[in-house]
Amino acid sequence: MGRITLDKVAKRFGEVEVIPPLDLTIEDGEFVVFVGPSGCGKSTLLRLIAGLEDVSGGEIRIDGQNATEMPPAKRGLAMVFQSYALYPHMTVRKNIAFPLKMAGMPEEEQKRRIDNAAKILNLTDYIDRRPGQLSGGQRQRVAIGRAIVREPAAFLFDEPLSNLDAALRVGMRLEITELHSRLKTTMIYVTHDQVEAMTMADKIVVLRAGHIEQVGSPLELYRTPRNVFVAGFIGSPKMNLIEGGEAGKHGCKTIGIRPEHISVSPTEGMWKGRVGVSEHLGSDTFFYVHETGLREDMTVRVSGEVEMKSGDTVYLTPDMDKLHRFDDAGLRLS
C-alpha cells in the first residue's frame, strides 16, 4: 500500500519560497520520477514527503492518512540517499538490520528478512564486510537492501545513481526497475538525468523552480510536451527550438523539432547549412549544423553511419507531422 497525496504542499526557507503550493497524487505501485534541473526543488519535495523537512503549508496524505506532522520513521517510507549514507562502523548485515533492530523485531524475523534481501540483491558474498571494503555499486545495493527489509509503503530514491560510473549506472538502473516490477511497491525517484527518468518511470513529474511543469508518462512527455521548458528538457539530444521568422511562418512564437525528426540530404531540402561538428556513435550520428539561415544552430540525429565531414553542405528537412508549436507564453499549440 502506498498512495501518496500532496495537497497544496508548500515549502519556504525564511522569505524564499522554494516550493509554491502544489498538488500531486502518486498511485499505489507507481514508479514516479521527479526530474528537473539543479535547484528546482525536486530533492526538497522528496524530503518533505520523507518528513526530513517540515512543510510550510498544505497536507501530505499517505494511504489516506494525514502524515503532515508524523515523524519520518512513522510514515512507513524508506529512503536511499545519494551518498548511500551507510553506517561505516557496522557490517553489511548490521547495516541492513538496523531499521529492524530499531523497530524491535524478533531476531529470527530479522534474519529471515535480511537473508531474503541479501538474496534478492546478491549481497550474500559480502554480508559480513564493512561498507569501506565495498565498491560503489555494492554500497548502492546495501543501501537498497536496508530500504527493502523494512517492507515500506513506498521507496524514496534521492539521485541514487549519480555517484556511479556510466556503465554501472545503466546496470543499476535496470536492477532498480526489475526490483520495482518484482516488489510492485510505490517508488519515488529523484534525478536530474532525463535518461534515467525516461527509462525507469511510469510517470514523470517535471519540475522547475518548485513548479510542476508537466506530469505524464515518458512517451506523453516526449510526444506532447506542454511547454517550451519540457520540450527542451526531455529528449536527448535536446529538441531544436527555433524562434523568429521561421516560427512566424507556422503562426507561433517558437517551433520545436527533435533532432531525430529531421532528414538529411546532400542535395535538396528545406534548410541549407554547413556541418560543424559530427559525432559518430556507430548506431547514430549527430550533426551540429551551422549557417542554416535560422537564428539557431541545428542538431540532427541520423540512424547508422553517415559519411559527412565538417564543412560539408547539407540540406535539412523537418518532418512536419512532428513539429511542435508554442505560443508567446511558451505553451503548446495543438
Binding site: 519520518p72 520513521a73 529512503m79 540517499f81 545519494q82 553506517y87 538496523f98 531499521p99 530499531m102 536496508r146
Partner: protein, 290 residues
Amino acid sequence: MSTQHSRSAARLMISPSVILLLAWMIIPLSLTLYFSFLRYNLLMPGANPFVGFENYTYFLTDPAFFTALTNTLLLVGGVLVITIIGGVLLALLLDQPMWGQGIVRILVIAPFFVMPTVSALVWKNMFMNPVNGLFAYMAKAVGLQPFDFLAVAPLASIIVIVSWQWLPFATLILLTAMQSLDSERLEAAEMDGAGPFARFFYMVVPHLSRAITVVILIQTIFLLSIFAEILVTTNGGPGNASTNLTYLVYAQSLLQFDVGGGSAGGVVAIILANIVAIFLMRMIGKNLDA
C-alpha cells in the same frame, strides 16, 4: 627528494636540528640516570659516591610512593572521564545552531589559554576558599556549612580544576569531529526509526571514537606530569593526599635536597609513563588504524 644527491643534501640540511634535539633529550636523560646511582644530597656537600640501586630501593619502598602512584592514576583517570563525557555533551550543545555561536565558542575555549598556576589560584582563592570563596558564599546563602574543598577533598578538587582546564581542548576536538559527521547518515538513521538517543549511541559515538582516542592519548601525556596546580593549591597535602609522582620527585629533590633520590624517582616516573603509553597504544591504538 629523488636523486642520491638531493637526498644527501637533505640529510645534511636537517642534521643540525636533529642533533640539537637529540642532545636536548639525551643529555638531561643521561645525567638523570647518572645522578640516580649516586648518593648526592645538596645538604651534604663533598663526595658523591656511587651507591648502585640504593636510591631506587629507597624511593620504591617509600610509603608515599604508592600513594603518589595511586593519586597519579586517579588524577589522570578522573580528568579523562570528566573531560570526555563533558566534552561530548558540550560539543553536542555547541553543534546546535544558535545565536552568537562564534562568541560562545571562543568563550568556551578561553580556559585553555589561562596559565595553570593562574587558574589554580583563581579556583583556590575565589571559588573553593571556605571563607571568601564563591562556593562558600553560595553554601551560606542557603544556610549550609561551607565546605573546605582543598582540605577535605584535595585530590577531587584538583581533578575538578584540571578538568576545567582541559575540557575546552576535548570539546574543541570532539566538536570538529562531530561536524564532520555526514548529516545524511543521521537522516538515514532517523528514517530507519532511530530516536535521538539511539542516533547518539549508534551513530555519533562510534563516529567520535577516533577523536576520543586522540583526546585520551594527548591528555594522558600532559596529565601524567601535572605539577603547577598541586604546587599552588595544596602543596601535595594534607599529608600526601594530593601528591602525585611528579610532585613526589619535586619534593624529594628540591624540598629534601636529595638529588640522587629525586633522579631515581624521575627514572621510575619515565618507566611508568612508558608502561601507561604501551597499554594505551595497545588498547586504543587500533582505533587509529581503521
